[in-house]
């Protein structure tokens, strides 16, 4: 999904660059000549492609993007697989050259600890407060404070009035 960038002169260059690299409405971009003959390797390549970001596009994987750089990365990826790298080695190879930005699945390291642990932490916190809330709800409203002696006499007077009326 895209919306047009505001075409004012100030961002004209950015727009042009984006338009050049991001051909709108790309087809899933693997071309027949990239497809490898070994189908197991090809499946691995496709799966890995979906986890790699096209770094010059606006939020697409290299599997989805038509940009020339995406194509280069797809070809590079396949070369590494043919050379015998494992999936993790291929990813490391690309991260060494393009940085962590190229990974669509953020790396699990100290600086992303909160990112990965966050949801579980939310669940835990929520679970604890939910438990406490249920317990207080089951206990019901707090009991009213007992009546003072003056209030008790007032109450009895009112009740007597009602009985005699």
């Amino acid at each position: 999904m895209t919306r047009p960038l505001r075409s004012s002169f100030g961002v004209g260059i950015a727009v042009t660059f984006a338009l050049l690299s991001f051909v709108p409405a790309p087809a899933r971009a693997v071309t027949p000549d990239e497809i490898m003959s070994d189908s197991k390797l090809e499946t691995r390549a496709r799966n890995l492609s979906q986890e790699l970001r096209c770094v010059v596009c606006q939020n697409q994987s290299i599997d989805d993007s038509n940009a020339p750089l995406a194509r280069d990365l797809r070809v590079l990826l396949r070369e590494r697989l043919v050379a015998g790298d494992t999936d993790q080695q291929v990813l490391d190879y690309l991260v060494a050259r393009y940085g962590n930005f190229v990974l669509l699945k953020p790396p699990i390291q100290l600086s992303t600890l909160f990112l990965w642990a966050g949801p579980a932490l939310f669940l835990l916190l929520a679970g604890v407060s939910f438990g406490r809330y249920l317990r207080s709800a089951a206990a019901g409203p707090r009991q009213a404070a007992p009546l003072s002696a003056a209030e008790q006499t007032q109450l009895e007077a009112l009740l007597d009035d009602r009985r005699s009326a």
């Binding site: 999904m1 895209t2 919306r3 047009p4 960038l5 505001r6 075409s7 004012s8 961002v11 950015a14 338009l19 991001f22 051909v23 709108p24 409405a25 790309p26 087809a27 899933r28 693997v30 071309t31 027949p32 497809i35 979906q50 986890e51 970001r53 606006q58 939020n59 697409q60 994987s61 989805d64 940085g99 962590n100 930005f101 190229v102 990974l103 669509l104 699945k105 953020p106 790396p107 600086s111 992303t112 909160f114 990112l115 990965w116 966050g118 949801p119 939310f122 669940l123 929520a126 939910f130 809330y133 249920l134 317990r135 709800a137 089951a138 019901g140 409203p141 707090r142």
Partner: protein, 660 residues
């Protein structure tokens, strides 16, 4: 002239909104009937002027008045009329005007149709709403004026991005805005309640129709966006966890929680603080979404306007409104604490758990969307958070929620027994088990996940049906009793059944598409064919086919199944000379359960064309299910009980008449 008139109307609306926000709070200690008349008229007036301004802008686009800057930047004489009109909101300035139009529309609706809302509440609500309108009108006047003129009008405009020249996308923003701008009304209600220091069942009764309406429209808006992406972008992708998609999804999650939470306040006068908080947060998430899209802060396929000044303004608006509301919440919530009494197994607890899980889901999406930004600020390095992250974190949170969605409505208020509830759900449990076994068997045990999620889908659909059959006592009472019960069941119950079943279809659709979609890519010359999933796709011919503002290469494909001709599909590669851009139009054949999808790709030097053929099982169910959810919401909205007035204190004192 019209553009100037439009601009003047915006400024008038700005000052009306200022008056609208001051009067209720200046007269807060006087009788509400003094203020409410003025405030209602102000709300209607504000809407009228903004509508006029919007009409002026539309007129400029339709008549191709290129002396207006946004028209020159985004329109063209050759554009078809529909896209000239939708061009009004496909740029930043115009879309902000649409935003404010809908904001004032909801205000006017409360003024016109909220006659049975108590005066003081209505005055306060419209007062807060006026403040929101003031902020956004100020934003338009100061940073995003759509009526700016060019000193040197060009002979023709820049045209519209070809991807946007599509009927589905033309109506996607209005629906989306009706949704997440509509939640501004829930925000106004929440803040008004905090100001008055009173939240009770009647407040929930008044706020619920507005939340429901906004929610339905947001559901439709998101569905339209997804369906459009599917048929336009060329490979059948329908959700990307793109920041701007998340920006509309977070309010949806929070809004769903708000909807259910208000229900508990209305029926049992519990969960009050949560409901108020959700009312504030849902709209805040909408504002954050606006900030995301228009400030250039995050790279996304959607980035609207890259302008720091606008970003700062929206951030300021966001801080003031959300910060102010949350501060008020912190101060006032002590006074509004309600004590509810319910057991750990009851419908209240089910709905509370629903709230909790939806809030966590929204928080997770928020975390994933904003983490790259925070990361970049603190470490000067960039990371990406994409679908692999969300699939691993969002889905595990949704699974227990989907299970509870069926159990919750079957629980009784206040206290119930879990085993008894499950016993009532036996038909659904059988269907669930059956689905699991069937799918597991069909896939030869290869795909346990798919089996599990299909079972979940069956659980949802049959659980909803079971809730209905239990209530109308189908099979356990006489037919006439059943029919009477069916007739007397309130519409909101039917709405719930339809919406929850719709969710089941969505789960089935996602599962089918994720697990069993297949594709084949090949180079074909005219006359050659490829085969996939029992279908044979033959490229018949590729010829030229001009369009209104594009030139196209059209590929015609004959599809046969089992040797018999099945259908013919057309895929085009369109070239738009004005913008020098190319798009691809896919050929799709749907039977509302599965799709065949064919795309014409690049040619090679030898006269062969790249052809991609996809088989997409169950994907239409995603959108049909989502639309069903919205439809269920509309059914609920038509429930008479949402329009009944509040009991008013009678003027005459009651006189006791002794029994004769």
């Amino acid at each position: 002239m019209m553009a100037e008139a439009g601009y003047y109307a915006v400024i008038l609306a700005l000052f009306i909104s200022l008056a609208q926000s001051i009067v209720p709070f200046a007269t807060i200690n006087r009788r509400a009937s003094d203020a409410v008349g003025f405030v209602c008229q102000a709300a209607i007036g504000q809407f009228a002027f903004v509508a006029f301004a919007f009409a002026c802008l539309t007129y400029a686009f339709v008549t191709s008045d290129f002396s207006v800057e946004v028209v020159a930047a985004n329109s063209h004489t050759l554009k078809p009329l529909l896209y000239k009109i939708s061009g009004v909101w496909s740029n930043h300035e115009g879309s902000m005007l649409l935003w404010v139009l809908i904001l004032t529309l909801f205000g006017a609706a409360v003024a016109l149709f909220g006659g049975n809302i108590p005066d003081r509440l209505r005055a306060n609500v419209l007062g807060v709403h006026g403040l929101l309108g003031f902020g956004f009108l100020l934003f338009i006047v100061m940073t995003s004026n759509p009526f700016r003129r060019l000193a040197d009008p060009p002979p023709d405009g820049n045209g519209l991005n070809p991807i946007l020249q599509d009927p589905g996308l033309a109506i996607h923003p209005p629906f989306l805005y009706l949704g997440y701008v509509g939640f501004s009304m829930a925000f106004s209600f929440s803040v008004a309640a905090l100001i008055a220091g009173k939240v009770d069942a009647t407040w929930a009764r008044w706020v619920r129709p507005w939340v429901l309406a906004a929610w339905c429209f947001l559901t439709i808006g998101i569905t339209l966006g997804s369906a459009w992406a599917y048929y336009t972008l060329g490979w059948g992708g329908w959700w990307f966890w793109d920041p701007v998609e998340n920006a509309s999804f977070m309010p949806w999650l929070a809004g769903t929680a708000l909807l259910h939470s208000a229900l508990v306040v209305e029926r049992r006068n519990a969960l009050v603080s949560w409901t108020i908080l959700l009312g504030i947060l849902t709209f805040s998430l909408s504002l954050i979404g606006t900030f995301l899209v228009r400030s250039g802060v995050l790279t996304s396929v959607h980035s609207f306007a890259v302008d720091p000044a606008r970003g700062v303004f929206i951030l300021l608006l966001l801080t003031l409104s959300t910060g102010g509301a949350l501060l008020l919440y912190a101060i006032r919530m002590q006074n509004l604490r309600h004590e509810a009494l319910f057991s750990p197994v009851s419908r209240e607890s089910g709905l509370t758990l629903n709230n909790v899980l939806l809030s966590i889901a929204a928080a997770t999406v928020f975390l994933g969307t904003f983490y790259p930004l925070i990361f970049e600020i603190f470490t000067n390095d960039k990371i990406s958070v994409g679908p692999p992250y969300f699939n691993r974190t969002f889905v595990p949170i949704m699974v227990p929620l989907l299970i509870i969605m069926v159990v919750g409505p079957m629980l009784k208020w206040k206290r119930d027994d879990v085993l008894a509830a499950f016993k009532r759900l036996r038909p659904a449990a059988y269907a669930c088990l059956l689905a699991f076994v069937a799918v597991f068997a069909i896939t030869f045990g290869h795909n346990a996940f798919a089996a599990m999620f299909m079972a979940l889908a069956a659980w949802l659909v049959f659980g909803s049906l079971t809730a209905l059959t239990t209530r109308i006592r189908l099979g356990s009472a006489r037919l006439t009793t059943t029919l009477t019960l069916a007739r007397n069941t309130p519409r909101s119950f039917y709405g719930q059944i339809v919406a929850h079943a719709g969710m089941g279809l969505v789960v089935a659709g996602i599962t089918g598409m994720t697990a069993w979609a297949t594709e084949k890519i090949d180079m074909l010359r005219p006359g050659q064919s490829l085969e996939l999933s029992g279908y044979e796709v033959r490229l018949r011919s590729v010829g030229m086919a001009p369009g209104p503002n594009y030139d196209a290469e059209r590929g015609i494909f004959d599809i046969s199944r089992g040797g018999q001709p099945f259908t013919q599909l057309v895929s085009e590669r369109r070239f738009f000379p004005v913008r020098q851009q190319q798009t691809t139009s896919a050929g799709i054949r749907t039977n509302l359960v599965s799709n065949l999808y064919v795309v014409l790709g690049d040619p090679d030097a030898n006269g062969a064309w790249a052809v991609r053929f996809y088989y997409h099982p169950f994907i239409p169910l995603v959108w049909i299910g989502a639309l069903l959810m919205a439809f269920g919401g509309f059914i609920s909205l038509s429930d008479r009980r949402l329009r009944v007035g509040a009991p008013q204190r009678s003027a005459r004192p009651l006189v006791a008449i002794p029994a004769e």
